[in-house]
């Protein structure tokens, strides 16, 4: 049973969750991670979703799973899956079990944060940290620009925890589909192909059903040949179109799902409507790889950030907007030196022209009567970012154009203030380390560290 595609991001819908529990599934599995939230939560190692939403989603899942005495697996704890995220979720689960006086159960926590020294020593040992998605391989500079990194776990450590008797598994960064596959393999004894197919289809919960609804529960019946998926919200249906459409969601290649140890081949998959609200999916195959490739995600701080919000209404000024922006950049260089030399960056996000799409905008012209400009500045210190932002925005106001009628200010301030924004981070690592020597899986396994605890309402004892 899959109640949400991102636990804690917005609350799980209660009614379809209750319907799901009433259907007596064999496990509840929920992913809590996403890279959509940007690089800052990982780089700064901070939570992104409000803690009380995370706690409330965990509470629903924990109570449902303990009521049925079935495994609960939570992936990518607290958005990023760092050790902080795992620790926090373990604390919440422990607190919730006390609050609700739950009977003792076994909790496994699998940490997957990867120490930057470990990455550096891998490089030192001549291991390739290979760039994904067209990136260059990592070097010492890549590691130096990284503040936090996580290794993305596959099926093996999670399945081992469940086989070892864990009732609740809190995972660090983990593949969305692997957290489902682990349960189907460890509890159902099912082959990798259908176990992973189940994960692939269920990982975003109601996104595989139609009409579009978020945070509603769906269930997958998994067997050796495939998966039958159906929604718990009475107004949703799983159709071949909705399920196939989800199978390609957020992926470059709709025919392949890669996790450590191989990939799921989806080229011969068929989608068949089995009743009004259920679709059966079969025909996936598992292709094991020679090595054991573990994806590494990393993020590092770029600088402090400040923004200002401006508007321009004068049609003459709008017709010569690029000159206005150039004037501002020129005044910045005059005062602070060039961005490259002095380590600052400034961006003009021109809403009403190309603010949404930037250089991809096919029609980057002002066709309305006004634009909004978000001036974004990044520099080494908060004061430097503030100063760059202030000078950049004020020089939109003072920009010199030959025939402007309004001579008391060429732009409107949202208010004459610079807003200190949260620091800028960047995704420094989207890489893979392939362990291909003998004993590769064991060596890769060292990246994923499992602790088991018995959670009891009166005491918590460590095994």
């Amino acid at each position: 049973m899959s109640p949400t595609g991102h636990l804690g991001f917005t609350p799980i819908e209660k009614d379809s969750f209750a319907a799901g529990v009433a259907a007596r599934p064999d496990a509840i599995v929920a992913d809590s991670g996403s890279a959509d939230i940007g690089p800052r939560p990982l780089g700064a190692d901070l939570g992104h979703s409000p803690e009380d939403w995370q706690r409330r989603d965990l509470e629903l899942c924990l109570l449902g799973a303990r009521e049925l005495n079935i495994p609960l697996v939570i992936g990518s704890a607290s958005d990023t899956g760092t050790d902080r995220g795992v620790d926090r979720y373990v604390e919440m689960i422990t607190d919730l079990s006390v609050t609700h006086g739950l009977a003792p159960f076994t909790l496994a926590a699998i940490r997957s944060e990867i120490n930057l020294n470990v990455l550096a020593s891998l490089l030192g040992d001549g291991v390739t940290i290979a760039g994904l998605d067209g990136r260059a391989d990592a070097d010492a500079d890549t590691i130096a620009r990284t503040d936090h990194a996580v290794a993305v776990m596959g099926v093996e450590p999670i399945a081992a925890a469940i086989e070892g008797g864990a009732d609740v598994v809190i995972c660090g960064r983990s593949s969305d589909s692997a957290i489902f596959a682990a349960v189907a393999e460890a509890r159902g004894g099912l082959p990798r192909a259908s176990a992973l197919l189940a994960g692939k289809l269920l990982e975003c919960a109601s996104f595989c059903a139609e009409p579009f609804m978020g945070k509603e529960t769906v269930i997958g019946d998994v067997d050796a040949e495939g998966v039958t998926v159906y929604p718990m919200h009475p107004a949703q249906r799983c159709t071949p179109a909705s399920v196939a459409s989800h199978a390609m969601y957020e992926r470059i290649d709709p025919f392949s799902e890669r996790i450590p140890g191989g990939h799921l081949d989806l080229r011969n998959v068929s989608y068949v409507q089995v009743d009004e609200r259920s679709t059966r999916v079969t025909g996936a195959s598992w292709v094991a790889s020679d090595g054991y490739g573990v994806k590494i995600e990393g993020s590092g701080k770029v600088g402090e950030r400040a923004i200002a919000i401006m508007g321009i209404r004068d049609p003459y000024t709008l017709s010569r907007l690029d000159e206005v922006l150039s004037w501002s950049r020129m005044k910045l260089a005059e005062r602070f030196g060039s961005p490259d030399q002095r380590g600052y960056q400034v961006f003009f996000h021109v809403y009403g022209r190309d603010g949404v799409m930037g250089p991809w905008e096919p029609n980057p012209v002002v066709s309305g009567h006004e634009v909004g400009i978000v001036v974004e500045a990044v520099a080494a210190t908060p004061k430097a970012a503030e100063d760059v932002c202030a000078l950049a925005s004020r020089n939109l106001f003072y920009a010199r154009l030959p025939d402007v009628k309004g001579t008391a200010g060429g732009a409107s301030f949202f208010s004459d203030e610079v807003l200190l924004a949260l620091p800028a981070y960047e995704w420094t690592l989207n890489h893979v380390v392939v362990f291909d020597e003998p004993g590769a899986r064991a060596k890769a396994g060292g990246l994923f560290r499992t602790d088991r605890t018995v959670v009891a309402t009166s005491e918590t004892s460590r095994r």
Binding site: A241, Y249, V302, M357, P359, P362
Partner: protein, 102 residues
């Protein structure tokens, strides 16, 4: 006829931190067939539409199970970097609406 009149879903979304992927889904099998056979949506036409070189189109596939055309563009910088617009990649699809199919 424009793509927006033929497709039932046209969407864009991050595919990892370095790419934005586009899904054009057809409810009507005939509309799907017409669009695919027209050849109007192809690597060169989408590269030109988004003012990118051909090399930035990381993949282009016709995905029959979903009656869909799917292509993926590489970002200039990773999602969520300073200055990089649309961190989810969720509002990059509208220029596709006006592609002339026939």
């Amino acid at each position: 006829m424009k793509l927006v009149e033929l497709a039932s879903t046209i969407r864009s979304k991050n595919a990892g931190v370095d790419h934005v992927t586009f899904d054009i889904v057809f409810r009507d099998p005939e509309a799907f067939r017409i669009t695919v056979e027209s050849g109007a949506v192809n690597v060169d036409s989408v590269a030109a539409l988004f003012r990118l070189s051909r090399e930035r189109v990381a993949s282009f596939v016709v995905f029959e199970p979903a009656q869909a055309i799917k292509f993926t563009l590489r970002r200039a910088r990773p999602a969520g970097s300073a200055g990089e617009p649309d961190p989810f990649g969720s509002q990059c699809y509208p220029p596709l609406f006006d592609l002339e199919i026939l």
